[in-house]
Symmetry: C2
Subunit: 407 residues, 2 copies
């Protein structure tokens, strides 16, 4: 048969180019697809933003966990790749990253062993620390392995997630780190995404300024012992403000400013689309760069059942897409390879179950079972992690190749 | 180094037995673990329930998508494996299932090709249909492939998911199926889990009775043409009532009653635990079988950060466990291989982010960074699908082997 019989959901394991056409039903659906043109645009756009801002880019790899995408980001000029776990650090290193920020405390012997292996093989892995107990445990482990571990102190906010709550706590921790033979303090890490106040813009600015002041204090006290020193913040929502504040603050001139947005790679049509619209409005640089980030990640699914007038059951569910920040919503509907409509604003996905979605369509749309619906999502991290591979497509939804994820 | 350096999250690809010990930090955490004794108990328990009820068991495989578990279920006497998609059918067949219920309409050429391949290789795959358009498309495809496809008409409820809304609609569809050369009607499928009324018990009973009446009507009209005929319902919440009602209804005596619970395999400590408690109260047979289903699926994670008094950040998040039906809650905490406490009812997971969880502990518990916390989850389907492999453990959390998932 001519159809692609899949090994994992929706894709082959083989990376080579294909002649398959999504809209001709050549592959099993549901499938997750990445639009090549939008991906390339996003990779270039964010790198240009970082370059023009005078900061380094270490994209958060946890969003996609797709080595092929890491390679696109590195090839475009990214300084390194950021990850959340030791496992993810291994995957990033396998993809070729020579600098990795593990934006978390590293806990547990097996996890430490993964990072020690990477450092021993020449990869620079920066870890975050917020507690002296963790500092002692790490120093003991890495000193035994005859390795020197570069660490960043995590600065947090009261009521937030991880991190020292005050600059004084951070300075105290830095003084303790200075006594530990396995560690070398390399700077400060923070994540402003946990801030939630009535004036978040102001709070984010102040938090960045606080982090910069902390760096100056550590620098003056000669507590930054590693040969590279850096300050790192910023997810995909506040990177413009973090870049502005840190460059304005003239952190010690030898210090590199490293931003860590992740979701920009695929972008979305939900919460990150909204966040980017705010950035486009407030950032002169974003405006100057022209066309903003584009949604590159879509689901391709079948109309599976038409049980009642106005209700279609679509062939996807919680197993296939993020559902924690708004449900996937339809972009276009195709039949026999032809566009029926891309004006679906009045058609709404109202509910998802594990393997089904409820789609309420308006009377202008007359879907048939077997029609292909393309949907955009909100919160790419939790869509990527549903797939072992995604299809890279051109603007006509011809399948170019499959790319593998490593969650 | 002695530690297990992982290929995928938390597990090796190798199925052979290990001497690794979870509580000695021999593996990377977070990890998902399956308790062998609880799994074996659950597999036996549900098979005994089905046998004693005089019905067949075709466990829904979408819950675990773990071939090793499918094999345990089949070896214990399961009639077949149920799945939700063509891809899942392929995985179930690869695991050795000779009978598969695909409890959905099959839509799209590539998806049909997967099922055609399975049927051509001798696997019996029963599909669900609720619309004449789908019936015609399937007949055209399978007749061209010179295959005869056994189909079940899906009976639904108004306001529900897929399925014909009335028995008359179903009879009309059966008459149309009888004219199509690629199809042979094999019975009725329904899913009572979509019913949500003020008296669900009564509604579920009535729905099962309606399905049985439909079968009798189709039988009388000689519309059931396949050589095996069956009626199939029941998820993990109402299987006792469905078994009772269908056996009481004396559906045509040549008809097999097939139940399709899935979540019982691992069970949980959330919504399915509650559902089973209701079954244990209302079902004489469940009481007679003795100890009920046990939770077999746990997360093992580290205390990752202790940023404020009473708050621990645990090293797992939405990337690692279901969060749509209650958050994972702690069962026990260990330090250096020793139990600190398994009385954690007053410690509460209040929030999960992608890779972090907020755990509020009470003053009796004094966690340290690096302590291992074991948690139970709610809704196993969405925890299984976060992992490429899970660790099978004995009652002391010694690691026996890893088992692979195929999502």
């Amino acid at each position: 048969m001519k159809y692609q019989i899949i090994k994992h959901k929706a894709a082959t394991a083989e990376p080579e180019k294909t002649n398959l056409k999504l809209l001709q039903q050549d592959i099993c659906l549901p499938a997750a697809i990445l639009k090549q043109s939008a991906l390339q645009h996003n990779v270039q756009w964010m790198q240009q933003f970082a370059d023009a801002s005078g900061v380094r880019l270490s994209p958060h790899g946890k969003t996609s966990m797709t080595p092929w995408l890491f390679q696109q980001q590195l090839a475009a000029g990214a300084w390194g790749i950021t990850v959340a776990t030791a496992y993810q650090a291994q995957i990033a290193a396998n993809a070729g990253a020579q600098r990795i920020i593990l934006a978390n405390q590293l806990v547990g012997a097996a996890n430490m062993a993964v990072v020690a292996n990477l450092i021993a093989s020449g990869v620079e892995v920066y870890l975050c620390i917020d507690h002296v107990d963790n500092a002692k445990a790490l120093s003991a482990f890495f000193h035994t392995e005859q390795l020197l571990l570069p660490v960043l102190i995590e600065l947090g906010v009261p009521g937030g997630r991880c991190g020292c709550r005050t600059n004084q706590q951070a300075v105290n921790l830095a003084q303790q780190i200075a006594t530990l033979p396995g560690l070398a303090l390399a700077g400060i890490e923070f994540y402003e995404g946990v801030i939630s106040t009535t004036d978040s813009v102001l709070s984010v600015r102040q938090f960045a300024q606080q982090a910069a002041a902390l760096c100056k204090a550590l620098f003056r006290q000669e507590l930054l012992k590693y040969h590279n020193i850096l300050i790192s913040g910023a997810g995909s929502v506040w990177y413009d403000i973090i870049a502005l504040e840190l460059t304005k603050a003239t952190v010690p001139s030898t210090m590199q400013i490293v931003l860590r947005p992740g979701c920009y790679i695929s972008h979305d049509q939900g919460i990150y689309c909204q966040a980017q619209q705010a950035i486009d409005q407030r950032s002169k640089l974003a405006t100057k760069l022209g066309q903003s980030l584009r949604n590159a990640l879509e689901l391709a699914v079948y109309v599976q059942s038409l049980p009642e007038p106005g209700l279609a059951v679509l062939g996807f569910g919680k197993r296939d897409a993020a559902f924690d920040a708004g449900l996937p919503q339809a972009i276009a509907i195709y039949r026999d390879g032809q566009l029926i409509s891309n004006q679906l604003q009045q058609c709404v996905t109202t509910k998802v179950m594990d393997q089904h979605a409820f789609w309420h369509y308006n009377s202008q749309i007359k879907p048939k079972i077997g029609d292909i619906v393309l949907l955009g999502t909100s919160h790419p991290c939790l869509t990527f992690d549903k797939w072992r591979s995604l299809w890279l497509v051109d603007d006509n939804y011809n399948l170019l190749q499959s790319v593998e994820t490593f969650f």
